[in-house]
């Protein structure tokens, strides 16, 4: 346990993690499995039969009614402590709830907005009275919540918002004036978390605003490409009178709240995307088994097998990485609480510690989902493109995930930005390992293998080298560009991709290594294939992203040296990926589902 607690956020890049240190989804206990089953049953019986009705938004009461039903099952209070009417589940269990409900299309968005960005600001930053007054009602669904940060001219640059809060003469209220956009659950929310600037403050301040306070009007529902059933409104605050005691935390603390709350949401968004991806992959397998051409099921054709297997490879790897990070967050939380920290504070601190992983996984989960739904449409052929087919909604609804809760571009930049800041503050020793890699570059390379024939020894060597490749390219870019690196967004994207795929690859190798220890190699053949195919994918990404970055910032001998280094650090033993994918796809076809 001591060892687990010592893991720091972002440290995966410079530290060798053992399988014993990570949690894997195959370790869910009976209670967690039952919780997941309840979520499946709820979505299958209450949401899936009404998807068209939900998306039509003809009945504005339908979504709040479904949230009420979710509330009756306790699904709105999973993150809320028991003292406030919730269930105080650990982070990984609440992420499991996000994953399973993530297949619920627009409903999933309404649910996560309410339980995440709607409820958590009060839970984590509210004082006791605020928590008692609001969180208890939000945990049961009696009140629904929305989060009002984005404005017409303040999206990714959230702190530039123009909404104002002015103290009334008697000092008892703030008058909020301004306009907010893309407000999820806006149409039916009772409580809004509103970010506004008091007078001419540089930073935002957060307020808890009840609809009943008055001074709130809204536009019609936005027309959107996907998640059409999710209420999305533009909201206007006109002299909205908010009691001073409804300020959340302190004046000027709003931007910090906004950033930290989005950080909590990020990894859960990734998990929800994985849940959606599993459902889409299952739909694709079923369709491929049913659809017959040239006298056989299309799941028997290699081109389709490739698609089905790639879906599984990406889902399995990304899923494992999410719960690995989730466990790290839980362990850090436990350690903070053991040290006497207030639980709400500890929750935030633990998430902040793993903010790099959270950003990586938001990007990864949402891009795996987009990959899967895109290929699912392709497996469906004409039926894939039909609005009456099983893939149309999944395809459209997936797209928003790369945009909201911080675009994937912002999150990629954040990943590297946070890593470098931690290095500069001395929290993470990246400099040492980066220098060691630089030295290794000019030294004579070791030839042949080192004779280690333990399970996954070769794969681990590849992982180690992938980290070196990342350190080499990042180190080179920092040295060369210094503070100008921030303006070279394309290079930051390259670095983020190397880092993310490396993290996920390591997670899947560790997951399968642990699984083999639990069940034996014979029982894990499919999972071993999944891990190996993903590792090859991660190497391919590192080669491409690394090369692009090196081309962009290095020249002449330095460029040649780095390209040679990249080649050396991305060496991987050939394997018949086609055969592995066929084995995976055949297993999926046999199980007629995403089976892992």
């Amino acid at each position: 346990m001591e060892n687990k607690k010592a893991i720091k956020g972002g440290e995966f890049l410079i530290r060798e993690t053992t399988p014993e240190e990570i949690f894997i989804p195959e370790e869910w206990n009976e209670e967690q499995k039952m919780i997941a089953q309840t979520c499946h049953d709820f979505i299958d019986t209450e949401v899936f039969p009404r998807l068209d009705e939900i998306d039509s938004q003809k009945d504005p009461e339908l979504m709040p009614r479904l949230l009420d039903k979710a509330g009756e099952l306790g699904l709105l209070g999973t993150s809320v402590p028991e003292a406030l009417g919730g269930f105080g589940m650990n982070f990984n269990t609440t992420m499991l709830v996000s994953e399973v409900t993530g297949k619920g299309h627009s409903f999933a968005v309404a649910l996560s907005a309410h339980t995440g960005i709607g409820t958590l600001p009060i839970l984590y930053y509210g004082n006791e009275e605020q928590k008692k007054k609001y969180v208890t009602k939000l945990a049961t669904g009696e009140w629904k919540a929305a989060y009002c940060l984005t404005e017409p001219d303040a999206g990714s640059d959230a702190n530039s918002g123009k909404t104002k809060a002015t103290l009334t003469e008697d000092g008892k209220h703030y008058l909020i004036n301004g306009q907010k956009m893309w407000i999820t659950n806006g149409g039916f929310a009772d409580v809004f978390i509103v970010f506004a600037k008091i007078d001419d403050d540089k930073n935002l301040t957060a307020f808890i605003v009840e609809k009943a306070f008055g001074g709130i009007t809204m536009n019609e529902e936005e027309k959107k490409m996907g998640i059409k059933g999710s209420s999305t409104r533009q909201i206007f605050f006109n002299d909205c009178k908010v009691p001073v005691e409804n300020m959340l935390s302190e004046r000027g603390n709003g931007f910090k709240i906004a950033v930290n709350i989005l950080n909590v949401g990020r990894i859960k968004l990734g998990a929800a995307a994985i849940g959606g991806a599993k459902a889409a992959a299952t739909a694709a397998v079923k369709y491929a088994n049913e659809r017959k051409q040239f006298g056989k099921s299309i799941s028997e054709f290699g081109a389709i097998k490739h698609k089905l297997a790639e879906m599984a490879v990406k889902i399995y790897a990304s899923e494992g990485a999410h719960y690995r990070a989730g466990q790290n967050i839980d362990d850090a939380y436990d350690a903070f609480v053991a040290d006497g920290m207030d639980p709400a504070q500890a929750r935030l601190k633990s998430l902040e510690e793993f903010a790099i992983e959270c950003a990586i996984l938001k990007v990864h989960g949402s891009e795996v989902l987009d990959y899967v739904v895109d290929e699912a449409v392709q497996v469906g052929g004409g039926m894939g493109f039909s609005a009456d087919g099983p893939f149309d909604r999944a395809y459209r609804d997936a797209r928003i995930n790369r945009i909201f809760e911080g675009t994937n571009e912002i999150n990629r930049m954040l990943t590297i930005d946070m890593l470098l800041k931690r290095a500069m503050k001395g929290h993470l020793d990246i400099l040492g390992p980066a220098q060691a890699v630089a030295k290794e570059l000019v030294a004579i390379p070791s030839f042949g293998d080192d004779g280690d024939d333990t399970f996954f020894a070769k794969e681990k060597k590849v992982l180690q080298n992938l980290k070196k490749a990342g350190l080499m390219v990042a180190g080179g870019a920092v040295q060369k560009l210094m503070e100008k690196l921030g303006d070279e967004q394309e290079i930051l994207m390259n670095l983020a991709d190397m880092l993310a795929e490396g993290y996920v690859a390591e997670s899947v190798i560790l997951r399968v290594e642990k699984l083999v220890k639990m069940r034996g190699e014979e029982a894990c053949k499919m999972e071993i294939d999944l891990a190996r195919v993903f590792l090859h994918h991660a190497v391919d990404v590192a080669v491409k992203a690394g090369r692009e970055a090196i081309y962009a910032f290095a020249e002449g001998d330095e460029q040649r040296l780095m390209l040679m280094g990249l080649k050396r650090f991305t060496k991987i033993e050939p394997m018949n990926l086609k055969a592995a994918r066929r084995r995976i796809a055949d297993y999926m076809a046999e199980k007629n589902a995403y089976p892992f």
Partner: protein
């Protein structure tokens, strides 16, 4: 009021069924188990009665330790305690003997179960339990209301319905729409592990039957589309030889 709900631990309806040991044993590998769907309705009705008029609900399962997750799911649905009879439920007679033995020790006002399990679909246990306890046994029950000491039930019969009334105690085999199907809620799930689950040893001499062999239904052949009625009649006469 005391209600005993007997539940089965059966393969999920989507499971692939196969056999081992010369087709004499069901192959359990990789099979997901659930509470028998009809039993689920029996639990749901028991919970409705508990909420409506107050009752103490005990669930019973005849099975080995592997069935405990299924039993705890019934506890998560709101049952107060559980009994597991530690034995493989080999045939209907054996299972009925176990239920009857438990019922003799405890004065239950009603014994509910599904109309049949969905693995062997014997549909005999409720009748046998009634016989052993000398109680009226009704199945399949689609509606069950309690008025005073009387249970009024609606039973499905061929081509219609039969309305029956019995005095408590009684045995009933349930099916939908006797109650609204339930999903365990978070509170139920989190309290399930703290509820008593008592394990008892079986009574009697074991199963009265032995399975000699299982056989899967023959695989479906290819579908043939015919162009005319004449061709169809010809095929039915000469190829299928059913006319």
């Amino acid at each position: 009021m005391k209600i005993l709900v007997c539940i089965t631990h059966v393969p999920d309806t989507t499971s692939k069924i196969s056999f081992t040991d010369n087709d004499t044993q069901f192959d359990k590998t990789g099979v997901q188990y659930i509470i028998g769907p009809y039993d689920d309705y029996a639990i749901a009705r028991a919970m409705e009665l508990k909420e409506g008029m107050g009752a103490e609900v005990t669930v019973l399962n005849v099975g080995l330790a592997e069935t405990e997750p299924t039993i705890r799911k019934a506890l998560a649905l709101g049952a107060d305690d559980a009994i597991r009879v530690n034995a493989e439920p080999e045939d209907a007679l054996f299972v009925a003997q176990q239920i009857a033995a438990v019922a003799k020790e405890n004065a239950y006002d009603m014994i509910l179960m599904g109309r049949e399990s969905i693995d062997f679909n014997g549909g005999q246990v409720h009748a046998m339990v009634g016989e052993m306890l000398n109680l009226p046994s009704v199945s399949p029950v689609m509606k069950l209301d309690i008025e005073g000491n009387t249970a009024k039930m609606t039973k499905e019969i061929e081509g219609g319905k039969e309305y029956v009334a019995v005095d408590m105690p009684f045995v009933a085999g349930c099916q939908e729409p006797i109650a609204e199907w339930r999903i365990p809620n978070m509170r139920g799930i989190m309290t399930a592990r703290s509820k008593p689950l008592n394990v008892i040893e079986p009574v009697g001499d074991g199963a009265g039957t032995t399975v000699q062999k299982f056989a899967l239904p023959p695989a479906k052949g290819a579908v043939k589309i015919v162009d005319s009625v004449d061709e169809l009649v010809d095929l039915l006469k000469n190829e299928a030889k059913v006319l």
